[in-house]
């Protein structure tokens, strides 16, 4: 096969640059048993510069997975437990009066880190959620009259619990849209759980080694953006996103009354970016339809608003996305 030069070069570069992916997976695999999809999603978020919302019942290693990822990178990690009495200043930082200097000094909050774990984000009121989500979007924080850029790479991994909804503040649709991926974690398999028990009962719990620097991540991110995406793949992404908005145009009229609103242009952008990151993880210099399908559920599931009819019929956004993928023609 006689590949054109740029793709061949790109493929070679990606083979070279993506070698750390296997290493990260290996290191994470020491600590996290199973949850392959979770690990892949964390890598996609890391490489595509997108924040991740993790949803799962307690005890599925959500926090541990994020902590382990930060361990593999020589980066600053902070964890914020969101509670109802949390204030924006607790998150961003504040001005503290110094008696010694007779002046106000800036005390930066835990958001000034490379990896921020916002644990149980839906337990805090809207003003704290807004402060975090604004920082996620702008990648800078203003304290007093000074604006501080956030650390690079900056990745927010928020978790929320699908049960115990009493006393929670569900994230508004506009704010959920800021997350590139919403990953739903399920229970591990029986054999995996048996291994988890053994690991936890052993005297020495394994620890991931640090193998990357933030500069490596920044370089990998720039390579991810160079992954080739053909016009056919772009049209495939558009077809999928447009099918969430106008299902009747794609022979999906059964969902016409069930979708309140479909994916935004941000959904198309994130689907394209996540597909590129997935192709990078698979060590390919170009995107194929498999990549789009692999990330489609995580990118779109929180971007489709369901009507009361859908809820009455027990139709979920995942059902709609699956049907869209089974109906939209693959290029």
């Amino acid at each position: 096969m006689n590949d054109t030069v740029n793709i061949k070069e790109l493929n070679d570069r990606i083979q070279q640059e993506s070698s750390f992916v296997d290493l990260i997976s290996l290191e994470m695999g020491k600590v996290i048993v199973g949850q392959k999809h979770l690990v892949e999603s964390l890598l996609i978020g890391l490489l595509a510069d997108g924040h991740i919302l993790l949803e799962g019942v307690p005890g599925l290693a959500k926090t541990l997975a994020i902590k382990t990822l930060s361990d593999t990178i020589d980066a600053k990690f902070s964890r914020i437990q969101f509670t109802p009495d949390l204030l924006p200043a607790d998150l961003l930082g504040t001005m503290v009066y110094s008696i010694k200097n007779e002046d106000f000094n800036v005390k930066k909050g835990p958001i000034f880190a490379n990896f921020v774990l916002a644990d149980e984000i839906n337990r805090s009121p809207a003003k704290v959620q807004s402060a975090l989500l604004e920082a996620m979007q702008e990648k800078q924080v203003t304290i007093g009259s000074t604006t501080f850029p956030l650390e690079q790479p900056f990745l927010v991994l928020a978790t929320q619990n699908p049960i115990e909804q009493e006393g929670t503040y569900p994230l508004p649709e506009a704010q959920v849209d800021r997350f590139m991926l919403k990953v739903v974690i399920d229970y591990p398999k029986k054999e995996e759980e048996q291994f988890i028990i053994r690991e936890n009962l052993s005297k020495s719990f394994p620890k991931a080694n640090c193998i990357l620097t933030p500069a490596d991540i920044s370089r990998a991110r720039s390579v991810v953006k160079e992954v080739y995406m053909d016009e056919k793949i772009e049209r495939y992404i558009l077809d999928i996103v447009f099918a969430t908005r106008f299902p009747e145009d794609y022979n999906l009229s059964q969902f016409s009354g069930m979708i309140k609103y479909g994916g935004s242009p941000r959904a198309s952008i994130n689907l394209a970016l996540a597909s590129k990151a997935y192709a990078f993880i698979k060590r390919r210099g170009y995107v194929i339809p498999e990549d789009v399908r692999a990330v489609c559920h995580d990118v779109l599931r929180h971007r489709i608003g369901l009507s009361y009819e859908a809820e009455a019929e027990n139709i979920t956004s995942v059902d709609i996305i699956t049907e869209i993928l089974n109906t939209v023609e693959v290029p």
């Binding site: 054109t4 080739y228 498999e290 089974n326 693959v330």
Partner: protein, 330 residues
Amino acid sequence: MIRIFKTGCRLLLIMAVMSLSLNPVKAQSLKVSARFDSTTIKIGDQVKLSIELDQPANVKVKFPLLKDSISRGIEVVKVFPPDSSKKDGNLHIRQEFLVTSFDSGLHYVAPLAFLVTNGKMKDTIRTSSLSLTVNTMRVDTMKNIIDIKAPAGAPFSLAELLPYFLITLGLFLVGFAIWFFVKKFRKEPVFNPRKVVEPPHVVALRELDALRSEKLWQNDKTKLYYTKLTDILRAYIENRYEVGALEMTSDQLIRALRMINLDDFQDIDELRNILVTADLVKFAKATPLPNENEICLLHAYQFINNTKPVTPVDATESGNTGEADKDVVK
């Protein structure tokens, strides 16, 4: 003089008529009568008025003209045609009228006049006067006023629907007959017209032939060539194995085919090679060598020929049948 003559003639006619009326049994008499079936009715009820005339055949008698009413308060509902008969040389004419009244009380009916003409003599003969008592409903004033009774429902009968049913059936039969004869006239099959559905492999092989003749990759349209090639194969697999091949990615398609027990897994491997090459061309700007393009097309022919349904053919007929479906490996 003339006046004396006319008066004399009239007297003679009256005397003749009177002499006839005094003796009704005798022939050649003139007699008129009128009577109600019942002299008492309830308000709104109907009663028949019968008028009878016995007359000699040579006398002309004109019946009284009763159109709308016979007196004030008694209305004519229907006029029956007169009935006539001959007896003992006399003509007997009877006519009935159906009458009603909506005014209570005693109604007087003046004598009905018949105009008699005998030659040049004319006279009028009258019936006796009649009366009709119309009673109103008794109202018990001690009781409260009650509403008008609702109309009594007529019992439903299927016979009422029968004409409509027959008309509908008739129209349907006429329509069907027209449709049937039009179909016959056009020589189209009347019932269960069979659509000729070509087997998927026949369609796919024909489209591969067309693709080959288009010479796309020879004209630097490699991407279009592979797009068409994979579309033909996907459409064939979809119709042949009833899997949603057009909506599947290459890996999904291969996995789906492995689930189906194909006889030869080599065919799947060859198909996989075609799809992988096509993906590289379509999504990674790859430009295969000319022999790779030819091999992909050859493998596509082989895949279709090896996986098409096998139909048993008689040994005697094998020489001249199945030519259309014959393996074409070009």
